[in-house]
Symmetry: C2
DNA sequence: CTGAAAGCGCTTACAG
DNA sequence: CTGAAAGCGCTTACAG
């Protein structure tokens, strides 16, 4: 009836008389009428909800995902969309679950740092729009939001070099992940530009989880003489940096007096270490917010609305060096690598 | 048709012949049939989704809420429920929004640390079941999950006293919040038992946000002579403790050599400070998981199912002292308060 | 054991 | 400007 129009407000403005309008409103108020979201969703084919999918490490969301989520929440609440959060343990094993969630309970999905095989990606349902953030590989028909990681890595290593460091270690993320590889590239490029030879023994593989990095660094410290210590460590993310700082503290090494440390991401954790961490800021919240905006236009288009916006397959955000207290000039007597 | 029964599986087991059953399944597979969640929800009056509501500080979820959320996510995914996350800025101003979310899009709501006035609480819709965690005041008809905060505060202060501290500062949470007050009580009680007179000047009001605590402690350090320094600080949560540790680091004070610090909650942040933080563990994940279990039985009951479980209004979880590296015996020459 | 029918609570052409 | 009707895609008595 007309009730629907009136109650949905602005939409059909003028076509109802003041009187019936008031009558409807009065009745609604008296009956404590509350529209039902599921019925509305069924009729509209629109749940006004967006889904967010992230993998859990050790049972919890990491700081990186949290930052992105924060941006997503802000943007979707601005657009009066609910956001439902789905977690999985392993992108490979859990695609089936992911597919199952695309049953109309959400209008679209944001995938945070998915690592999907080509086949898995191809099996994603076509009736649900997707946006990914930092996808490990390009997903067909999915717009991917990423940041200029290689450049960030380059800049932070360049910065260390400018501060006088030459013997710079890199503790990298999970081997095989694009994000990890891009940081290694940036690291190598900065060394090359400064004509510092790349030393394989200073490029230590680890994972993006802080716990692993702590162990990795502990082992390294046990297995190497004090003289082998680098002047600075470029860690592939803030969690790794924190893990390394813990290992250094245990070994009696002071940051930054004995060794400089830099991270990547600029998550909340980067500001609660002591000293605060020099890092490369990825605008994760903005990226999360943008994911929502993009997804929303994808959903409109999917609904058949004519949306003029052009959408590229990739959106690349700039990164930014954030100097804080964890970097100092190398200690006077520290061993340096001769310029080749 | 019978299709519904077959596709919903186990439910009506035997009453359909093998043959039609197979026929149905085959057709479903061939048509790529996917049940629609909103239609199902409308018919069942059950969305299989639970809502979580938390307030934002400075635009993001704090570590406390994160831990709870993690527990909620684990439990709801175990029960094959989605969880949608709602954020608000102010419990007082946003009750209207909260009410609006109770429109069938979720089957029940978990409120994380709500601070609702009596009136606001009374205005919560009766058609949606609620569970609260650490509610600031008892909510009518809402089961509240909390922990033994007073006892936790008592135990950690007692521990500091056992370690030889007598001049113990407390940096408290937001004045007026029950959680903050309970910690103050425990602090006072432990002092009283040890016959240490309560010194108002050592009970510093702050807020549960780490940033504020950092400022609070900075100001305190500037306004007080070094001799006035306490031997130990009991902080009302881990974020406050981290903020204080930062202020101490800036002032050149070493933890725990110059001053001991303890926190409360045992969030992830407690393990990434250097030194790691001695704290009082609240089993936040378990509490979040329990909230889901309780809410689910509330929902069943609401649906008219006979659920035998008795549900108390309050569920109180025990807390546990977690000694780590941020506490040492007080420095030899430090000023102590004479026993009265 | 199976199928036709009504209903969940909305929205939206469509005919007056 | 307004109201009666059909439809969104399921589930569940109910009659065969």
């Amino acid at each position: 009836m007309a009730a629907s129009k009136v109650l949905n407000g602005a939409r059909s403005s003028s076509r109802i008389s003041e009187e019936t309008r008031d009558r409807i409103l009065a009745a609604a108020a008296q009956l404590h009428y509350r529209p039902n979201a599921t019925a509305r969703a069924l009729a509209n084919r629109r749940m006004n909800t967006i889904g967010v999918v992230a993998a859990l490490n050790d049972g919890d969301l990491n700081n990186y995902a949290m930052e992105v989520l924060t941006g997503v929440l802000a943007a979707s609440s601005k657009h009066e969309q609910s956001t439902t959060l789905f977690t999985l343990h392993d992108w490979g094993a859990d695609v089936t679950r992911l597919r199952g969630w695309c049953d109309g309970r959400v209008d679209g999905m944001i995938l945070i740092a998915p690592t999907l095989t080509h086949d898995a990606a191809a099996s994603l349902p076509r009736h649900t729009p997707f946006v990914s953030l930092h996808s490990n590989s390009p997903l067909p028909d999915v717009v991917n939001i990423e940041s200029n990681e290689e450049r960030g890595a380059y800049e932070v290593v360049e910065y260390l070099i400018e501060e006088g460091h030459r013997r710079i270690m890199h503790v990298s993320g999970d081997p095989g992940l694009t994000g990890a590889e891009r940081r290694v590239s940036g690291y190598k490029r900065a060394l090359a530009v400064a004509q510092i030879p790349f030393d394989e023994k200073l490029c230590i593989p680890s994972t993006f989880a802080g716990k692993d990095a702590r162990k990795t660094m502990r082992n390294w410290l046990e297995g190497n003489a004090r003289g082998a210590l680098p002047q600075a460590v470029f860690c592939a993310n803030d969690a790794i940096a924190t893990g390394c700082m813990e290992a250094f503290a245990e070994a009696g090494l002071r940051v930054p007096e004995d060794i400089s440390v830099v991270g990547f991401d600029d998550t909340l954790g980067a500001r609660t270490t002591i000293p605060q961490l020099t890092t490369v800021r990825q605008p994760l919240r903005e990226m999360g917010a943008r994911a929502v905006e993009v997804l929303l236009t994808l959903i409109q288009r999917h609904d058949g609305e004519e949306v003029p916006t052009e959408l590229p397959n990739r959106i690349v955000f700039p990164v930014e060096l954030v100097p804080r207290a964890s970097v100092a000039r190398p200690p006077a007597g520290s061993r340096t690598v001769p310029i080749v």
